[in-house]
Amino acid sequence: MDVVSTINTDTWVDQHGDALFRFAFFRTRDHVIAEDLVQETFLAALQSKERFKGQSSEKTWLFSILKHKIIDHFRKNKPDRFRNQISQDDHSTKTYFNSTGGWRIHPGDWRTDPGKAQEIKEFLDHFYRCLAALPKRNADAFVYREIDGLNTEEICKLLGITATNCWVILYRARMLLRRCLELAGFNPPNEGLPK
């Protein structure tokens, strides 16, 4: 059954527009950018409708497209402080460990487990910028795995890599991402310094 070809695009916008817009605004903090991203999302969805086979709900599908658009948006922006933070000393995950495999840069105590709307907002503010600052391959793998919820087999196919390679890429993505968030402020100032 072709779900999407029967869609009335007007109803579509009425049904999902507000939620998509709020989501995009939550992360970009900019009306104009959020609107553009929502429009791009609907256009991309229409153009790729044959790839949507009704495995997920229409809403999930649209949000998945929007999330990719948001990350693309941040990636297109000039290198910001997040990218500088990551690139300076974190080229290799070896940076974090000493020669015997112990932590050299200790993971900080984030304390926050974002539960309230305000905390989530702050977290996501940094989250998407950090994600966009990752090397593209690592960011792509992370988005496929964590945001789209694909399994490693599907990711291997998409990126044309082996399973082992996929785990290495995901590991590096997670290391860089949590380090970037930590540098962005999810850490008390005196912790996490090399010892």
């Binding site: 939550f26 256009l43 795995r145 945001i147 590991y171």
Partner: protein, 87 residues
Amino acid sequence: MKHWMFSCEEVSQKVSQSMDVRLPFHHRMAIRTHLLMCRYCARFRRQLNLLRKMSRHDDSGILTPDSPSQLPQESRERIKKSLRNLP
């Protein structure tokens, strides 16, 4: 800091991998033992779980005082028009 058979570096790799595939029993046991004794690796795991939770977080229904609740009417019409004009 080295606990049992895995170093912190190895545990961090295994913790990450365990989010993507089910690890063999003895690996899971070794990790669990290490995590009980090593607060940094325990933090690391909590943080990776938080990354996953936030990646899948749907806050489209959450309203904050400084956030708009609706797509402005004007842009709604603009978007509808652009979709109609699509070949």
